[in-house]
């Protein structure tokens, strides 16, 4: 999944080659066959085969969903709420989303036609991409990025164009770098702030410039704001809140991260009515609707979850401080992220690739982290370390890493053992 991966040009000989592929392979569509396996998947398989691992590799909250939300789902089940809902989602949930989004971003969305409830942000992203991309359209996004961005664009027959972001700029997406890719053929810009895997937030000034650029170039902006609640020093600013941007932006959000509801698979898209209507066409024929129990639980979360989110945010902030200070004390150059729940430390001083470092840390220290390359080619030289696990697990991981680092590296030195 190269950050600047280009969709291969159709090969006129390809169909002739197909009969020689292993049995069954010839049935697979070319664009699916050519899609690389997720790097995170390979590492997951390896970690699963091992015992006694402490993981900083999780991309979800370490705590369970708050009980009042779980209890509401149980009550909904007991009440016999087991049917389909409207394609758009329960009206009461869309009304709750509308109020929540207005509080969070200052942008008002009409529950009747500007909000679509989806099966997580992943489905919202897929519907949005399929709704706007004609084969060959280019989609810009920051590299490193969430693992699904590039493949989702490819599966929609688009061309993903990764824009490298740099450690020296705290992995922030810069308007100037985006402008350099403003060429004919670009249809959309995919934003993620705060970002997975770097925790970076796009500065408000940069966001304003990116908004102007998007207007000038007539791009659709897909803004994945799933970590908007998890910011520690400054408030999240949605690109949709800039003048003229609501009309060309689809904001993607959901309950997975801030409400610790990953397994409920509940997300939504908010945007201009014509775009939402196009997305509904895809959603109604593929997913039909998000599970009703999750939607019922979602209403409870949005209507009564504000205090709980604040306590989670405080807890994440403390755990971020703890892991950041621990890693920097071990010699990892690392920014203190402003949002999300990931650190993205550099391993350049240790002269190992991301894969090698993560593999050895796993084998020798029994600590799982995710190699930066799982998130794009610009992730080489970095690791993603989540601070969402429980504090006890973080302390154990830090203790193990400390011992392993002392045994193998002096600050900035080459490996001294196990190589």
């Amino acid at each position: 999944m190269s950050g600047s991966a280009m969709q291969p040009a159709p090969d006129p000989q390809a169909d002739k080659i197909l009969p020689f592929l292993p049995s069954g392979e010839s049935w697979i569509a070319r664009h699916v066959r050519d899609l690389p396996r997720s790097g995170i998947r390979d590492f997951f398989d390896l970690v699963q085969s091992m015992e006694g691992i402490v993981s900083l590799g999780i991309g979800e909250p370490g705590e369970s969903t708050f009980w009042n939300i779980r209890e509401q789902a149980i009550f909904a089940l007991e009440s016999g709420k087991t049917g389909y809902t409207s394609n758009l989602g329960l009206l009461r949930l869309r009304q709750a989303i509308s109020g929540y989004m207005e509080r969070l971003t200052g942008v008002c969305y009409d529950p009747e036609g500007e909000i679509l409830v989806t099966v997580g942000v992943s489905e919202a992203l897929d519907c949005a991409l399929r709704a706007i991309i004609n084969p060959g359209d280019h989609v810009l996004y920051a590299d490193p990025s969430y693992v699904a961005y590039s493949p989702s664009v490819l599966l929609a027959h688009g061309v993903p164009i990764g824009i490298p972001t740099r450690f020296e700029e705290e992995f922030q997406l810069r308007a100037e770098a985006v402008a350099q890719r403003a060429k004919p053929g670009v249809k959309a810009l995919l934003l993620n702030s705060p970002a997975n895997p770097t925790g970076a937030m796009v500065d408000e000034g940069e966001l304003e410039k990116i908004a102007s650029l998007s207007e000038r170039e007539d791009w659709v902006v897909l803004s994945d704001e799933i970590y908007a609640e998890l910011t520690y020093e400054k408030r999240h600013r949605s690109i949709a809140s800039f003048p003229g941007m609501k009309e060309r932006t689809v904001v993607l959000n959901g309950l997975s991260k801030a409400f610790a509801m990953t397994g409920f698979r509940l997300g939504w898209a908010c945007g201009p009515a014509p775009l939402i209507a196009a997305m509904v066409k895809i959603h109604q024929y593929s997913m039909l609707c998000a599970p009703i129990l999750s939607q019922e639980a979602g209403i409870e979360a949005l209507e009564h979850g504000a205090t709980q989110i604040e306590s989670m945010r405080r807890s994440y902030r403390r755990k971020r401080n703890y892991l950041w200070r621990s890693l920097t004390a071990m010699g990892f150059p690392c920014h203190r992220p402003e949002g999300a729940f990931y650190l993205f430390p550099s391993i350049l001083p240790f002269h190992l690739s991301s894969q090698e470092f993560a593999f050895r840390l796993l084998q020798e220290a029994r600590v799982a982290v995710v190699p930066g390359t799982a998130f794009g080619s610009s992730g080489e030289g970095y690791l993603r370390c989540s601070f969402s696990p429980r504090m006890g697990d973080l302390e154990e991981a830090v203790a193990r890493m400390n011992r392993w680092m002392r045994a193998n590296f002096r600050k900035g030195a080459c490996p001294t053992a196990g190589d």
């Binding site: 995170i40 699904a148 520690y232 200070r325």
Partner: protein, 166 residues
């Protein structure tokens, strides 16, 4: 964005959560120096903001045979002192583990602990009920604990997560 909470308030939260963390760990969590944390804990202890550090124990697993009871106590308030003098007198008994002034149908809620049911009953009838100013008591014996000071008791919940996820 996190709302600002004072250093003391955050430190107290962390100590209530787990008082066994080292000052180095607490300092990392709070973005402070270990010496600052130690100094603040010393101040909070000296000023009796922090009263004690205690373990929360699952009595069943520890195979304790203690008997616990909750007593609703009605009092006659005293002129000038209200309920305080009598409440403090009751709270001093070693059998009393907690004592709260309440609104509603009774005045004090008293938590008792003894080694047998008879011992607790004797304390209530011979000591508590006979105090001048106590007009009535209603005793409820505790049968089982499901949650103690914010901690679920005896419930094994599987909150495991995939080791690696996107």
């Amino acid at each position: 964005m996190s709302k600002e909470v004072s250093f003391s308030a955050e430190l107290l939260c962390l100590l209530e959560e787990n008082p066994l963390r080292s000052s180095e760990t607490l300092a990392k969590l709070l973005g402070r120096e270990a010496a600052e944390v130690e100094q603040e804990i010393a101040r909070l202890e000296k000023e009796k903001v922090i009263l004690a550090y205690k373990a929360i124990v699952d009595d069943e697993k520890a195979q304790r045979r203690t008997v616990k009871a909750v007593i609703e106590v009605k009092l006659v308030p005293e002129r000038g002192g209200g309920f305080d003098r009598l409440a403090q007198r009751i709270a001093r008994y070693s059998e009393v583990t907690s004592c709260f002034l309440m609104s509603g149908g009774y005045d004090l809620l008293v938590f008792l602990e003894g080694s047998t049911l008879q011992e607790v009953a004797r304390f209530v009838s011979e000591k508590l009920a006979t105090l001048h100013g106590v007009t009535s008591t209603a005793t409820h014996f505790m049968l089982r604990t499901y949650k103690e000071q914010g901690i679920l008791v005896g419930e094994a919940v599987d909150t495991s997560r995939l080791s690696i996820s996107p």
